[in-house]
């Protein structure tokens, strides 16, 4: 599924745009001008990676110290142990589109429970 996210001109370099779908997805515009989309929720605990520390092609979770690679979704070190999903990005007529991955997301336990309808 292709989802329109935001206009490229509205997303300055070094910034992130959070797509409020369930689970949320974030689009990052790196300082080098590349655009990536990954799952927004840290796989360790409920935190929005769009609020995180973007440096190069890596974003550090705003709460703890795990860094996720925007290109692969891979995580570098604990406390997070599982990667985030990456999503395909297309820019067409100045609009950023995200094609959602069909893989199952790696959500932290509390968020997974909430989405499953269980206790938060």
């Amino acid at each position: 599924m292709m989802i329109p996210a935001c206009r490229l001109v509205d997303l300055p370099r070094g910034e992130a745009y959070r797509l409020d779908i369930d689970p949320p997805v974030s689009v990052f515009h790196t300082d080098d001008g590349e655009v990536f989309a990954i799952d927004d929720t840290c796989t360790h605990q409920d935190a929005s990676l769009a609020d995180g520390w973007l440096e190069g092609c890596e974003v550090e979770c705003p709460l703890h110290a795990s860094k996720f690679d925007l290109r692969t979704g891979a995580v570098d070190a604990p406390p997070a142990k599982r990667p985030v999903r990456t999503h395909e990005v297309h820019v067409e007529d100045g609009m950023i589109y995200v094609r959602l991955s069909l893989d199952a997301p790696n959500l932290p336990p509390c968020v997974a429970a909430r989405l499953a309808g269980g206790p938060a």
Binding site: A47, W53, L63, A65, P78, P109
Partner: protein, 386 residues
């Protein structure tokens, strides 16, 4: 360098082992730990694990597929170091001799004198501590937390959520004034009262009452606070006794340079037991934060492998977090260096503030309560300004 011994198998030790492999060390790697457990994460011990919402298996710091090609000597305590030989003596009488030694033996919870053997009295530092406390909190009743620091406050918050009647006793006039300063310490510790947890400040503890099990906490002003369970959260001391006579300088931890290098060639120290030189402040300090134990081993390992031929880069400002009563508390920098603190965003009564600490107008620290986005921006600025 053909063999490195890492003494300490918690976050700092594991991070050092990872850094060694990550930086190309291909030799023999021995990790020595006095607990029987593989490396586990401590922050949840006072929160989700204590509350029962996080299983023990989820505390593991190593993913299943990680292979550091290390030899793990677990359940064995290091009791001595021959500095010049870089030989680590173990409690079972054996010895591990290495070309490089990483000291990562952490810190141990301080206790109250005269409370040994009294049931119902806990400290919280290790997984075994947390298991014992969790089982006891599950019984409910009255909990008295001695010490209003972060561990004490997190335990109080968790116990409150579990339905216990909670009192926090703090000797200082304001809890958290050390790490956060008076003003923000007051705002953060107001979370206790928001939730009906009693906070008694400015009064010391004289002792505990009870024969085989604790019954009450006796305060220096004569009050007696009934307690079914007591948690002593009065700080930690670095585990460096075993290094006496090693030739290392021990002053509130192992004294190190700005990259963990000690006075002994081939020996570095990381984590809670290490007192690193802070070039910005011009002094040594021991930083007991998770983030330091995670990040600093990278620099120490670089120094170890290079034999001191590499100049240390500037470390990021210290960062820590805490979760209390559903509020995400984040802090970076040094509050003690500040001459002013201002709330830049949010409202103190809503407990969602972003506060900036300044010295002569320049930011030296930042505190966030439920402000992760703004906090990250300020944290980046702090690092860039440093």
């Amino acid at each position: 360098m053909r063999m490195v011994a890492v003494v300490g198998a918690s976050l700092a030790g594991l991070s050092a082992a990872r850094s060694l492999r990550g930086q190309g060390f291909d030799g023999r790697l021995v990790v020595i730990g006095d607990e029987l457990h593989r490396p586990y994460d401590r922050p949840p011990l006072s929160k989700e694990f204590l509350a029962g919402s996080l299983a023990e298996t989820e505390l593991a710091l190593e993913p299943d597929d990680e292979d550091l090609r290390a030899e793990w000597l677990l359940g064995v305590r290091a009791v001595g170091l021959d500095g010049p030989q870089r030989a680590v003596r173990l409690a079972d009488g054996s010895e591990v001799r290495a070309d490089g030694v990483v000291i990562a033996t952490g810190a141990a919870a301080r206790t109250l004198p005269g409370t040994d053997g009294l049931a119902g009295v806990h400290t919280l530092r290790t997984l075994d501590d947390a298991r014992a406390l969790r089982d006891e909190l599950a019984l409910g009743g009255r909990l008295v937390v001695i010490g209003g620091g972060f561990i004490g406050a997190e335990v109080a918050s968790t116990a409150y959520a579990l339905g216990l009647d909670v009192t926090v006793v703090e000797a200082a006039p304001t809890p958290l004034a050390g790490p956060l300063g008076e003003t923000m310490g007051g705002i953060v510790s107001a979370l206790h009262a928001d939730h009906g947890v009693r906070l008694l400040c400015g009064v010391g503890v004289q002792g505990l009452r009870g024969v085989s099990r604790v019954e009450a906490v006796l305060l220096e002003d004569g009050r007696s606070i009934p307690a079914d369970t007591v948690v002593v959260g009065v700080g930690a001391r670095p585990c460096v006794e075993w290094l006496a006579g090693s030739g290392l300088e021990l002053a509130d931890g192992v004294r190190c340079g700005a990259d963990g290098r000690t006075g002994l060639p081939g020996v570095v120290a990381v984590g809670d037991c290490a007192s690193w030189y802070d070039p910005r402040a011009g002094l040594h300090r021991r930083v007991e934060h998770w983030t330091g134990a995670r990040e600093r081993p990278d620099a120490a390992v670089t120094a170890l492998l290079a034999g001191g031929a590499v100049e240390p880069g500037a470390p990021r400002p210290p960062y820590f977090w805490s979760d209390q009563y559903g509020v995400k508390i984040q802090f970076a920098g040094h509050a003690a260096a500040a001459d002013s603190v201002t709330i830049e965003e949010g409202a103190r009564d809503d407990r969602n503030v972003l506060a900036v600490y300044r010295r002569s107008g320049h930011p030296v620290a930042v505190l966030g309560m439920n402000q992760p986005r703004l906090f990250t921006r300020w944290r980046k600025q702090l690092a860039a300004a440093a």
